[in-house]
Structure formats: structure tokens, C-alpha cells
């Protein structure tokens, strides 16, 4: 696996939220505005990259029986750093994200990458993998937040983007809007997948038919 493909796989092919259905709680909770989504995305990406790096560095010295507690402590340490930095420099964002900042610890994407990737790969690849997954997580958050903020508030990143006659649908900002948007986005991703799979199947059938007719001729 090249460095490049380790990065790009997290964006679309193995997108943690849309494909692997990991990290769903924060994707629902902080996606009511694009600003919150970006804040959460950057924080989680930082924790992912740093914890993947450290876990990859110590992977040979950690006995496999106690590896999970070790990983959790490493992740929690970086989350505490994010908490303190955000509380000091971005107090508004810290308040808006609320308990979802400490809850980055139990974001299953982070422990999942530690266990599935960083514990088996070199530090360089682990950092790239963590960065790709973090960017993929941020992208998924942005998609959901874009839908919710435009429909629910008529704005994108705080800038008004809808015509003046537009009546915002408050429901999209509230809890139900998060669930409905997530369900429809996941359904759309599945639909694209299934359409592509069908097209590939058709193509291979047509190719096989060509090959056969050529042989007969």
C-alpha cells in the first residue's frame, strides 16, 4: 500500500461515517451548523493523527493483553489536550460542542484505527491513515451540516445563502433533522453504490458477450 492510497481510502472508499457507520453520535450531535462541524472535525483529526502516531511508535513494547487500556489512556491524554486548548482559545466553540469534546475519547473511529491500523503499521503510514480518516470524518460532518444548516437556518457557515422568501425549517436544526438527514445521506450513498455495482455487472456481461461473439467469428 502506498502512502497516497492510505490517505485517499479514508475519504470516500472507507469513509468512517458514511461507509463504516462509525462515530455516529458526534456526527449527529454537532452537525447543526457548519462551524461546529469543522471544529469537531479538526479536533478529532488531531486526536486521530497524534494517537495513531504514538500507538504506532509503542506498538512493539505493549503486551497484547493490556493493549486496549493502553490505547484508551493515550487517546484520553490527547483529548484532554484538545479540551484545554479549546477552552482557552475557542471558548464559544467549546461551549457549543459541550460534552462532545470529552466524548471524543469514546469515538469508535479513533480506537478502531488504533486497533485495526496503527498497532500493525509503521509510524509514517499510521499518521497518513489517521489524517485520511480524520479528513473523511470531517467531510461526512460537512455534508450533513451543510444540509441541516441551509434547510434549518437558511445559512452556510453563518452566511445567508437562501432567497429572502425562504422560510427556515426549524425541525432540521433540532434532533429529528439530524436523524432524518443521516438516514437519507446513508440511503443516497447506498443508492450510488448499488447503481455502480449494477453498471459494472452489465459492463462485464456485455464484454463477455463481445468476447464470445469474436471467438465464434
Amino acid at each position: 500500500m502506498s502512502v497516497r492510497s492510505e490517505f485517499t481510502k479514508g475519504l470516500i472508499k472507507e469513509n468512517p461515517v458514511l461507509r463504516l457507520a462509525l462515530g455516529l453520535c458526534p456526527s449527529l450531535a454537532v452537525s447543526s451548523s457548519v462551524e461546529n462541524a469543522i471544529g469537531m472535525g479538526i479536533s478529532a483529526t488531531f486526536v486521530l493523527v497524534m494517537s495513531n502516531l504514538l500507538i504506532s511508535l509503542v506498538r512493539k513494547g505493549v503486551p497484547s493483553k493490556i493493549r486496549i487500556p493502553v490505547y484508551i489512556v493515550i487517546i484520553a491524554a490527547f483529548v484532554s489536550i484538545v479540551e484545554m486548548v479549546m477552552a482557552a482559545y475557542q471558548p464559544d466553540l467549546f461551549r457549543a460542542l459541550g460534552i462532545f469534546v470529552p466524548l471524543i475519547v469514546v469515538n469508535c473511529i479513533i480506537l478502531g484505527r488504533a486497533e485495526a491500523f496503527a498497532s500493525k503499521n509503521t509510524p509514517l503510514l499510521s499518521v497518513v491513515d489517521g489524517f485520511g480518516m480524520g479528513v473523511g470524518f470531517t467531510l461526512a460532518l460537512l455534508v450533513i451540516a451543510t444540509v441541516r444548516e441551509i434547510l434549518g437556518n437558511g445559512t452556510w457557515y453563518g452566511i445567508s445563502v437562501t432567497p429572502s422568501g425562504f422560510e427556515p425549517v426549524l425541525l432540521m436544526m433540532l434532533a429529528p433533522g439530524a436523524f432524518l438527514t443521516m438516514g437519507l445521506v446513508l440511503g443516497f450513498v447506498n443508492w450510488m453504490d448499488q447503481r455502480k455495482a449494477e453498471r459494472d455487472k452489465m459492463e462485464s456481461v456485455v464484454k463477455a458477450g463481445f468476447a464470445r461473439s469474436r471467438k465464434e467469428a
Binding site: A21, L22, L24, C25, P26, L28, A29, I68, P69, I72, V73, A76, A77, V79, S80, E83, M84, G98, I99, P102, L103, V105, V106, N107, C108, L111, L171, L174, A175, P176, G177, A178, F179, L180, M182, G183, L184, L186, G187, F188, N190, W191, Q194
Partner: protein, 201 residues
Amino acid sequence: MDLSNLLVIVVGSILINNFVLARFLGICPYIGVSKKLSSAIGMGMAVIFVMTLASLASWLIYYYLLDPATSVWGVDLTFLRTIAFILVIASLVQFVEMVIQKLAPALYQALGIYLPLITTNCAVLGVAVLNIDESYTLIESLVNAASAGVGFTLALILMAGIRERLDTADIPKPLQGVPIAFLMAGLMAIAFLGFSGLSFG
């Protein structure tokens, strides 16, 4: 002790600020373990149990070891909150698993497979952090944790009942499985919004 205060916490955590449908905590088990009614009940009971115990342990640790105003050594260790809580919860789950296995094998048979899943359930860490953020007393924290667990179980059981029926429904292929579960959760969340009109006073 003001009983009406406790009642407000109970109703608030179960209905108005339902952990799953209003606070978005514990979504992974909510989607993952809601395919069958029997496993939903098992998971719900395990969560109520662990959440209450975790709240007890984390409250004691926060106020006796970390908070400078009340701790035994008066040093400000509150920055260790996240690390301390997740370690407490992880070891508590392990401990509970061992104790139940020894003392109540029948209960272990019922809850056993759900216990390891609970360590990464954000609802457990969430309730421990919320108790501190809301500066609840010990009694309030325990009541809050137990009713948050009941609220989680309620949402999980309702969802399992719906999904057992969805199995035989004719759903468009791209929406089958997880997407339709989210859409159902959205409709349930709309229903639960109705409770936000409840007021006491």
C-alpha cells in the same frame, strides 16, 4: 432532600432530554442492537446497571480526588477528569463482568455479551460528565444515571419493536438496514419533541 427536584430529573432524563433521541448519546448500540426485542431488553438492563455504577464511582472520584475545593489533598486535578473517568468505566465494566460471572451465572448468561460493548458506549461516559457539568449531588447523580438508562432502554425497546415489523415491509433497496433505522429514529424524535412542552411549576 427535595423530592420534586428528583422527579424533574427523572422525567427530564427519560422523556424530555431522552439520551438517544434528544442528546444523541449511545447511537451505536441503538442502531446495532435494536434488531431483536430480546437483545434490546438485555442491552437496556446492562446499560442501566453500568450507568448507575459508573456515575457513583465517577462522582466519588471527582469530588474526593480531583476537585480542589472538596478533595482530600486540595490540589486541582480536574484536568485529569476525562482520563480518570474512562479508566474508571473500563475497569468497572471488567470488574462487574467478573463479579456477575461468579455470583449470578444466570444473569451473566443474559447480560454477558453486552457488557464488553458498554465500555465504548458514549452514553456511560456522557452521563458521568453531565453529572459533573450540572453539579448534581450524589443522590441526584444516581437518579439521573438510572433514569437516563431507563430512557435509553425505552428508546431501544420501541425501536426494536418497530424494526421487527420492518423486516417484512417492502422498503426501497438503498434504504434497507441502517438508513431506514435512522429515518425511524427521526420520526420517533419528532414524537419525543412533544414532551418538551412538559413543565413543572
